[in-house]
Symmetry: C2
Subunit: 343 residues, 2 copies
């Protein structure tokens, strides 16, 4: 089935969306929010699936046209966003461009960072950045959403724990990364809020394109209306989602509603293009000695989507514009301010 | 006021606790959970404060003895756990012990990592670790809980945004850290679930001991019943909580209920001891050329608390035992498992 959240309150309002993304219906009688549904999946799944069937069959009541511009992220905020870097070929390329070898262990031990999850951008929300010089980039990825998973769970036990899949735009501030990683504690300011596809889908919805814990479709990225890349997400994925879950669960349990990302989708076949500017710039550095493609400027747009074999959008599109963020300083906030004694 | 959560459901059940930590009263008519209270602070604060006054005055109804063994973490799960390393003296020491200089910028640019927040240990819950060889350590810290904070907020605008303070045991798996940090993406498996003090307190509760956005009391740590350290949390804190908030907010907004940690409390005055085993081991390496104090073993206990000037516990104690974790493989999970096609 396909689920989405209308932009309402802090956690959205759960709706069920038809397979063709044309119609929707409120699910509040079953679960008010997607996080509630994930927290109580065993109790709500059958009712949600029933509603989804009725919606597709045209017999659900109180339906309305699906408008993805009214959606928040399926999970507007989440308890976990753990992002892997499963397309190791991409990592190797980044290293090669700066003249560094990649350790052999990167082919067997997944790279992963803990991302911020306290607020995600809506799929059509502007990407607000204070400074264009921070090196604004998109990253097209696949993500899964899990239920509760015990500490120590291994790949062979992962079956059934992947409840939903989504697309991601993992916004990155490339020029903040080198100094931040040099400090040794990983990404922080260089990874602001990510955006997810309007619709999250259950694995059964994907049919034969979901196997080996990989999603076997191309991920299509447009920059300012022009095709930028469409690498195949099922190709060159060194670590599948079962292996990424095992990595997360090594020393801790995983809470329902946790989101785990694949990292930038990337193929060794260069003709399929890239899912982020950084990769294209690396290829230019290797070819010409310098990068030619600039990072995103204010006004630039990125569109990330995935089509099934019949050319229909599966998740709806992430479509975002980069805009300048201006922080407004509120003097009234300071009326009672004494910097040496906060009450 | 003082707030806690009874262990109930995924998000606990909010209670108000008396100043002396002896009595409590349910707050469910005002806010079912602490996250709900933080999401709606302006609407609920006055009612919670009123209930707190009545509880302390002995005129609240339906009160019951406060039992911290029945508490979950004040926030059993949270949307953000961002942990700084504000006692830079500690960072310098760690570096010195391995013969590395610390960059000068560490004195002006805070170190911070994104921690996992999808599940925290209760204050008296066992620390379950699969392998003693992972180098099990505690870290005594102070943490704040914020309301919503706009992107770009600066130190001079932070006033009023710190809603609660807590103590933390930031459990660390020291022997997993070097390999993990060498990969460049920061901590992940080496930072399992943290534990927080049973009680979270509002800044007004701390009187003159809360100023300059620092908490001016000693943090007391006992290991296996013996005093291990009691450094002063207001001394040698290079970055105060206003500066840590500014660091988090540089490229993103902060959601209500976000937890920001100070990092291990540490004083230059060595006679006050340490708040983690790693620091004592570093001091031993510098003095004797090798570490003498082992990491925690199964059965070891750690107790972290803070007393006011009259010797009363402010937050209640974190008191935890390290135990061996055994993952049970459930064959029934695999009944329908086909590794090459997950439905």
């Amino acid at each position: 089935m396909k689920l989405a959240s209308l932009n309402h309150g802090r956690d959205g309002q759960l709706i069920v969306v038809s397979r063709d993304l044309k119609m929707a219906v409120h699910a509040h009688d079953i679960a008010p929010t997607l996080q509630f549904a994930l927290d109580n999946w065993h109790e709500v799944e059958a009712d949600l699936q029933h509603l989804y069937r009725n919606l597709n069959d045209g017999i659900a009541q109180h339906t309305f046209p699906f408008n993805l511009a009214l959606c928040s992220s399926p999970l507007p905020r989440a308890y976990q966003w753990a992002d892997g870097s499963a397309y190791v070929n991409h990592v190797e390329l980044v290293r090669k461009a700066r003249g560094a070898d990649m350790p052999e262990s990167f082919w067997t031990d997944p790279l992963m960072y803990q991302g911020m999850s306290d607020g995600f951008l809506a799929p059509t929300e502007d990407i607000k950045v204070a400074d264009e010089q921070w090196g604004i980039d998109f990253e097209g990825e696949i993500a899964i959403v899990t239920d509760d998973i015990a500490m120590g769970t291994r790949t062979e036990e992962v079956h059934g724990h992947i409840k939903l899949l989504m697309l991601v735009n993992d916004v990155s501030l490339r020029n903040l990364i080198p100094a931040e990683l040099a400090k040794g504690f990983g990404f922080f300011q260089s990874k602001p809020s990510s955006a997810f596809s309007p619709v999250a889908v259950t694995p059964d919805e994907l049919g034969n394109s979901w196997h080996d814990y990989k999603l076997h479709h191309r991920l299509t990225v447009h920059l300012n209306g022009e095709l930028f890349g469409q690498p195949h997400a099922g190709t060159d994925m060194t670590f599948n989602f079962a292996e990424l879950i095992q990595h997360v669960a090594k020393s801790r349990a995983i809470c329902a509603g946790s989101i785990i990302g694949s990292g930038t989708v990337s193929n060794k076949d260069r003709s399929s293009g890239s899912c982020c500017l950084a990769e294209r710039r690396m290829l230019e550095i290797l070819e010409y000695g310098h990068a030619e493609t600039p990072f995103m400027k204010f006004g630039d747009t990125v569109k990330i989507e995935m089509f099934d074999d019949s050319g229909h959008s599966i998740f709806g599109a992430i479509e975002q514009t980069v805009v300048r963020y201006k922080h407004h300083y509120h003097d009234e906030d300071l009326n009672h301010h004494n910097p040496h004694h906060q009450q």
